[in-house]
């Protein structure tokens, strides 16, 4: 019997959904929320985790460990999300999850290809979901992300993920920010990188970080269907959201 861990270095956990059916398609997972992000996407629905994470209580690692161990008969894996998890040192956390026999899914904005590379090489992650915020053009991407973005890093991450690990790329579709053309461009980029799965996510206005975007109407099901059709011309695509 392994001892229960009471801490792992490099990480604090600010939130946990013990059972999630929707954070890793087709799997039952526990989802861990890590604080902080280097992007400021207006459509982000976890603003508190990005901007006010100091006000949130830590979830004790001992609790996480004990929960994962006693429920590994039900869980397929753990989804590590944020914020932006790759701002943290994730090795120990991923190893801890792996020690319970569970798989690891990592959500990322792709801004830290080196971190991703190490995690993928050391087989500490089994699945990576990367957000592609906009077509890969300096102005557009930085506008969507709310900060200047190093597009080289984004491209590297796309190449790396598409080539090395099970994955999905995803775009949260916001009226006024994305249209058929932008989806076409992103899908094209992904296809060229060898990506095998693209998911369009419906934007949830009421949770948006940006006040302005809270007034924007989310896409209808029919509009989402249309955009998926565009994306599906390049690679397998679907949409999710309510």
């Amino acid at each position: 019997m392994t001892l229960q861990r009471s801490e792992v270095s490099g990480v604090t956990i600010k939130g946990m959904v013990e059972t999630s059916f929707v954070d890793w398609d087709g799997n039952i997972v526990a989802t861990l929320f890590l604080p902080g992000c280097n992007f400021r996407c207006g459509f982000c629905f976890n603003a508190k985790l990005v901007l006010e994470h100091d006000t949130l209580d830590d979830v004790p690692i001992s609790y996480v460990h004990s929960y994962l161990r006693s429920n590994s008969d039900f869980l397929d894996g753990v989804c590590i999300t944020g914020g932006e998890p790759t701002l943290h040192s994730l090795e120990e956390l991923c190893s801890l999850v792996k020690s319970t026999g569970l798989k690891v899914k990592l959500d990322t904005n792709g801004s830290s290809p080196r971190v991703l590379e190490e995690l993928i090489d050391s087989r500490l992650v089994d699945f990576v979901a990367m957000d592609v915020k906009a077509p890969l053009r300096e102005r557009e991407y930085s506008k969507a992300a709310g900060v200047p973005v190093d597009l080289k890093a984004i491209s590297e991450s796309i190449e790396l993920i598409a080539g090395e690990v099970e994955h999905e790329f995803r775009t949260t579709v916001v009226r006024g920010v994305h249209d058929r053309q932008s989806i076409r461009e992103i899908a094209g980029t992904l296809e060229r990188a060898g990506a095998r799965r693209y998911v369009l996510q419906k934007f949830i206005p009421e949770l948006a970080m940006s006040e302005e975007l809270r007034r924007v109407k989310s896409m209808s099901d029919a509009e989402m269907d249309e955009l998926v059709e565009v994306a599906a011309g390049y690679l397998p695509a679907k949409w999710r959201g309510r």
Binding site: V17, E18, T19, F21, V22, D25, G26, N27, I28, A30, N71, D73, F74, L75, D76, R240, R242
Partner: protein, 643 residues
């Protein structure tokens, strides 16, 4: 002829028979002797006093009910309490009747508002009063009125509670109901069989208070579906679901609380049974041979449920309940079928998953009620039309109140629990006595349908009847007694288990004492949860305010249902299904855990995995997934989430 002293009263009486007659004092005396068993002399005296009161009032017209009220007042003065009870009139105040006719009944979501529904409510109200006055002992009636226990469906006192039925009966004997103006021979075609089934269900709804369950529907329909195209099979499935769902338009205005039990595999107990087909004849095959048709029909049913009604809304009845036995996992195509039904859970939330582990087999009758079939029942499986089961009544124990009264003492708590269960058993004895009296009136009696004996025994198999002991608010009992809710510590959870183990043992002990079959059931009654919480806030205010859930200020209070963990506590679905499942092996009449999906629409694989893991790794009896829907009352549009 008029009584001597009455000649000078120019008074007219509106009598209940719908006539206006001249005042006659002797009528009072006669009715007191006939109805209340009052002696002749005393009856005369009472009648005399009543006449004086009326004469003094100077009234010119009086109604029968008013005279009766005056007589009752006299009976009270004479301390003739028993006589008053027999003589009293049952009914409702004018105000209440007006409210009932004009306002929606909020207590039962399954009853639409309309003249038929109010007829039902008015009748229920009178039967309920009758039940408390005449069927149950004063002690039991008082315990119900005080809220120590809850006697369910008192307005349906003259019917058993719920029933599990077999399509084989309808296939073999056709639609041949007592007192029917026309009789149908056994069906030749699947479509006709469906119609027979629906009509039979409607007839059963008239003699049962609650759920009408049908076992292994897809399997028993299968011999009628050989050689039919996919489209035709789907048409039959559509007829079955829509016809059941729309019965609420019939008299009485209430949906048939119906369940369709489905299997992907041929369950072991039916595999070698000779199949009955068109015209009620044996087909020469066993049910094992109809696996393919049974599966095609099951899939067609799921497709119909997926499409929903004409507006795409989910069907609330009939409920599809998928039984999972060990055989499922060795039956080809099970994974795909599980995904299909899991998709239904995710999209519409209809499907219930019933786990028949090991050698157990079950019949489900309503959302929470599933009977485990014992050795005798499995013998019945060889002649499946005999598989007719019923729970005659459900009595729920108010558990939090026991904790208030026990004042922290474990011993007293269990003692009080035993006392309340004995009272519940007394209530069951009384109900059985009453139903037996009605059944003894035979085919021309009110329960004639249950007396028809096409297979050598009455449709209602009294010797197989069970009597349900429900429980409410275990969580609040534990919370008050220990200061912690069941999800807050393993000690609290263990204490909860100990209480239910005690109830389970008491069921057995009482069963031996009374020669009846008492089983625990998770009470499926939101209105009881409200009623008992409200009564406790009135009678045990200091205690109850510490544990009731909801909002005391708004008067929206409740106790947690049965053995559930606090519904609003942050307990993950995995832990809920495991912890709640620990109670289920002791609750033989079925139990259920709801998994809340909220707005999320998971991929079916995740749901299917959860179902299989619940079967494999827990003792949970039954689960269902609940998505959130909002339905626009004006346009009928349905959206995901709560709006």
């Amino acid at each position: 002829m008029k009584g001597e002293d009455s000649t000078d009263i120019a008074l007219f009486v509106k009598v209940s028979a719908g006539n206006v007659v001249r005042w006659d004092r002797r009528r009072i005396a006669e009715s007191l002797m006939r109805e209340a068993g009052v002696g002749a002399e005393q009856a005369e005296q009472i009648a005399g006093r009543v006449e004086s009161i009326i004469r003094e009032s100077g009234i010119e017209f009086i109604t029968g009910p008013l005279i009766r009220e005056i007589v009752n007042a006299e009976l009270i003065k004479l301390r003739l309490e028993e006589e008053r009870k027999r003589y009293t009139r049952l009914g409702m105040p004018v105000y209440d009747v007006e409210q009932l006719i004009t306002k929606q009944n909020k207590e039962n979501a399954n009853v639409p508002h309309g003249p038929e529904a109010t007829n039902l409510s008015l009748a229920e109200s009178i039967k309920k009063q009758y039940a408390l006055l005449r069927v149950f002992s004063p002690e039991v009636a008082l315990a119900h009125e005080r809220g120590d226990i809850h006697l369910h469906d008192l307005g349906f006192i003259d019917r058993p509670y719920c029933s599990g039925n077999s399509i084989e009966y309808v296939k073999k004997f056709g639609l041949s109901l007592p007192n029917a103006l026309s009789i149908s021979k056994p069906a030749r075609h699947a479509e006709v069989l469906v119609l027979h089934l629906i009509k039979f269900s409607a007839a059963l709804q008239g003699v049962f208070a609650g759920a009408i369950g049908w076992d292994a529907v897809n399997l028993f329909m299968a011999p009628y579906l050989t050689g039919r195209s996919e489209r035709e099979i789907e048409q039959v499935a559509q007829m079955l679901v829509f016809e059941f769902a729309q019965q609420a338009v019939a008299r009485g205005g209430q949906s048939i609380f119906s369940d369709l039990n489905l299997y992907w595999e041929v369950p072991k107990h039916f595999a070698d049974v000779e199949a009955i087909g068109p015209e009620g004849r044996y087909t020469g095959n066993t049910y094992e041979d109809y696996l393919e048709e049974a599966q095609r029909f099951a899939r067609a049913l799921i497709r119909v449920y997926m499409q929903g009604d004409g507006m795409g809304r989910p069907f609330f009845f009939p409920k599809p309940q998928l039984h999972i036995t060990e055989r499922l996992f060795s039956t080809e195509g099970y994974r795909e079928f599980l995904y299909e039904i899991a998709r239904l859970s995710s999209e519409k939330g209809n499907s219930y998953y019933v786990f028949d582990r090991g050698e157990t087999a079950k019949i489900s009758e309503c959302c929470r009620l599933a009977f485990k079939l014992d050795e005798n029942d499995l013998q019945d499986a060889k002649t499946p039309w005999k598989m007719r089961y019923s729970a005659m009544q459900n009595v729920t124990i108010n558990l939090p109140r026991i904790a208030y009264e026990a004042n922290g003492s474990d011993e007293r708590l269990l003692e009080l629990l035993s006392e309340r269960m004995r009272l519940a058993a007394e209530a069951h004895v009384a109900k059985r006595r009453f139903i037996v009296k009605l059944l003894n009136l035979g085919k021309n009696g009110p329960l004639g349908l249950l007396c028809m004996d096409k297979d050598g025994e009455p449709y209602y198999r009294l010797h197989r009847a069970t009597f349900l002991m429900g429980m409410l608010g275990l969580n609040e009992l534990v919370q008050y007694h220990l200061g912690e809710e069941m999800h807050e510590s393993s000690y609290a959870l263990r204490f909860g288990l100990k209480v239910i183990a005690h109830m389970s043992r008491e069921c057995e002990r009482l069963g031996e004492d009374y020669g009846m079959r008492f089983v625990l059931e998770q009470t499926p009654a939101e209105s009881t949860a409200y009623r008992m919480a409200k009564l406790d806030l009135e009678h045990y205010r200091e205690h109850a305010t510490q544990v009731v859930k909801g909002s005391i200020e708004r008067g929206e209070v409740y106790y947690t249902n049965s053995t559930y963990l606090n519904v609003s506590a942050p307990i993950s679905p995995i832990e809920r299904v495991k912890k709640e499942g620990m109670f289920h092996p002791m609750i033989h009449a079925g139990s259920l855990t709801h998994i809340w999906l909220g707005e999320a629409k998971p991929e079916p694989e995740a749901i299917a995995k959860f179902v299989v893991r619940t079967f494999r790794h827990t003792t949970n009896d039954q689960i269902a997934f609940s998505p959130e829907f909002s339905s626009c009352l004006d346009c009928g549009r349905v959206d995901r989430g709560l709006w």
